[in-house]
C-alpha cells in the first residue's frame, strides 16, 4: 500500500483521469447551477417554438412542446447524478457491512452471503433491474432502492476478499492479542484497509449505475415524466429521429460524456492505488451491465 501523497501524485500525473475529473466537475457544476442558468425554462412550454433546431437561444434546440432541451438536460443531470450517488451509497453501505461480515466471521455467515452474491450475479444486471422495476410501482424512490440493492454483491465480494487478506496480517493479530474486541478490530483496523478498493468500485459503479438508470428510463421503467431524465428524453426523441435528431443526440452525448469521465476517474484511481493492476484485473463482474 502506498502513502496518500504518492497516490495523489500518481493520480494527478494521469492525464486522462484529470481530464475525466474536470469534465465531471463541469457537468456537476452546471447541474448544480441549473436553476440559476435557466430558471424555470426546463418546464416552460412554447408551442410556437416547437422542435426548433439548435440556435443561440436554444443551444440544444427545443422539443415538441417548445421546451429548451439544454435546460432539460441540465435538470436531468441532477436527477441522473443524484440517483447515481444515492444508489451507489446504498450499495456501498450494504456491501461494506455484508462484505466485512462474510470475510471477518467466515463460516456459515460467509457461505450464506456468498451464495446470495452468486444468485445476484446469476442474473445479467440490467435484466434483474428490468424485472424488479417491472413489478414494483415506478418512481424515484423505488428506482434508487432497486439500483442500490442490486449493486451490493459486487462491493461485498471485493470487501470480503480485502478483509480476508488483511485479517491474518500481523497488526490485526497484535491488536487481537492485546485484547481488542471484534468491533474495535473491524472499525480501527479492517475498515481503513477497505476504503481504497471500495472507492474504485464506487466510481466505476457510479458510471454504470447512471447508465442503468438511463436504460431503465429509456424503457419507461425509471424516472417518470414530467421529471426530466436523459434516458426518457432519448426515448421520446425516437419518434422525431428523421426531423429533429437533436432531441436524441444531445441528452445521449451528455450521458456518454458523464459515464466516460466517471470511468476515466475510476480507472485513474485504480491505477493510482495499485499501479501493478492491469486493465482487466479488477473484478468488474457486476459492475458491467
Amino acid at each position: 500500500m502506498s502513502s496518500r501523497g504518492t497516490i495523489f501524485r500518481r493520480f494527478t500525473r494521469n492525464r486522462s483521469a484529470i481530464c475525466g475529473l474536470i469534465l465531471l466537475l463541469v457537468v456537476g457544476i452546471l447541474a448544480g447551477l441549473a436553476d440559476i442558468l435557466s430558471p424555470g425554462r426546463s418546464a416552460e412550454i412554447d408551442l410556437e417554438g416547437s422542435l426548433s433546431p439548435p440556435s443561440l437561444r436554444h443551444p440544444f434546440g427545443t422539443d415538441p412542446f417548445g421546451r429548451d432541451i439544454c435546460a432539460r438536460v441540465l435538470h436531468g443531470a441532477r436527477i441522473s447524478l443524484g440517483v447515481g450517488f444515492l444508489a451507489r451509497t446504498i450499495s456501498l453501505v450494504l456491501g461494506l457491512v455484508l462484505g466485512i461480515a462474510a470475510g471477518y466471521f467466515g463460516g456459515k455467515t460467509d457461505a450464506v452471503l456468498m451464495r446470495l452474491a452468486d444468485i445476484t450475479f446469476a442474473f445479467p444486471t440490467l435484466l434483474l433491474l428490468i424485472a424488479v422495476m417491472a413489478v414494483v410501482s415506478p418512481g424515484l424512490t423505488s428506482l434508487i432502492a432497486t439500483l442500490g440493492i442490486v449493486g451490493w454483491a459486487a462491493v461485498a465480494r471485493l470487501v470480503r476478499s480485502q478483509v480476508l487478506s488483511v485479517k491474518e496480517r500481523d497488526f490485526v493479530r497484535a491488536a487481537r492479542s492485546a485484547g481488542a474486541g471484534d468491533m474495535t478490530i473491524i472499525v480501527r483496523h479492517i475498515l481503513p484497509q477497505c476504503i481504497s478498493p471500495v472507492m474504485v468500485v464506487y466510481t466505476l459503479g457510479l458510471g454504470m449505475t447512471i447508465m442503468a438508470e438511463a436504460s431503465l428510463s429509456f424503457l419507461g421503467l425509471g424516472v417518470q415524466p414530467p421529471t426530466p431524465s436523459w434516458g426518457r428524453m432519448i426515448s421520446s426523441g425516437v419518434a422525431f429521429m428523421r426531423t429533429a435528431p437533436w432531441l436524441t443526440v444531445f441528452p445521449g452525448l451528455v450521458l456518454t460524456v458523464t459515464v466516460c469521465s466517471l470511468n476515466l476517474v475510476g480507472d485513474g484511481l485504480r491505477d493510482a492505488l495499485d499501479p501493478h493492476l492491469n486493465v482487466g484485473r479488477v473484478d468488474t463482474k457486476g459492475i458491467r451491465l
Partner: protein, 312 residues
Amino acid sequence: MIRFVLRRLLLLIPVVWGVLTVTFVLMYIVPGDPVLTLAGERYDEKTLEEMRRELGLDRPLLVQYVEYLGRVARFDLGRSFMTRRPVIESIRERFPRTLILAFSAMAFAVVGGLLIGAFAAWGRIPWLGRTLMAGSLVGVSIPVFWLGLLLIYLFAIKLSLLPPSGYGGGSLRYLVLPAITLSFASLATVARVTRSGVIDSVSEDYVRTARAKGLGEIVVMSKHVLRNALIPVVTIVGTDFGSYLSGSVLTESIFGWPGLGRYIVQAILKRDFPVIQGAVLFMAIVFVLVNLLVDISYGLIDPRVRLKGGGR
C-alpha cells in the same frame, strides 16, 4: 478435471434454486391483484374467483411455490396473460434470433477488437492508434440504445445504406446494425486488452527469437504475439455474454428485432407478468450455464484454476 466440473455443477444447484426463488418472489410482490390486470375492465367477482382458482392463486404461498418449482421442472412457464400462448413456445421461437444476434455481436467484438488492438499496439501510425484507443474508451461508456439510434440515423436515414429496423426474414442486411450496436462495448474492451497484451508480449524472448530467425512481421504477430493475447480476450467475451443478453433487451427494441429481448419489453409495456417472469428466468438460466462453460474452459486452458477449485 472431472472433480472440478462436478464441483462447479454442485455449486450450480443453490444458484439455480435462488434464481427460481427470486423470480417467484418478484411476481408475488406485483402491486395489486394480478387477476385484475388479467381481467381488465370488465369483471365480476365470480369470474375473478374462477380465474384465481385456475391460476392457483387461492392456495397458500408455500403450495404455490412448490407447484411453481414443479412446473418449471417440466418446462412449463405458464401462459401469456394477453395471448394465452404458452411462454415456453414463444421463447423457443424467439430465442434462436437473440442467439444469432448475440453470436454475431460476439464475432464482431472479437475480430474487430483484435484487429484494432493489434493495430494500436503495432504503433506504425501513432495518431490513428491513439485515436482508436481514445475511441475505445468512449466505446465502453456509450449507452447501447443511444448508439443504436445514432447508427440508424447515420446509416439508415442519412445514407440509406441499411434498413433502419426489422428482421427481414433473417437477411444479413438487417443484422448488421443491431450486431454492431450490441458488440460495441465488448469490442472496445477487447481492443484495449489486446493492445496491452500485445505490448506486453512483444518484449518476450520467444518473440525476439521469432524475429531473429527472420519471420515476417505478420507471421510473428499472428502466430506468436496474438495467440498469447487471446487468452484474456476469451475471458472478456465469456463474461460479456450476460451483457449481450441484457443489451439485447435494448438493442432488439430499438431495431425491432423479434427476439427474446423485445418480447420482454413488449410484455413490460402490457404488464404481462408470466411472460416477464418466464423470459427473465430463462435468460438468467442461460447466463448461468454460459458462465459455467466459461469457468470450465478456464479449467481446460489453465490448470492453476482447476487446482484452486474456485476459478474466481
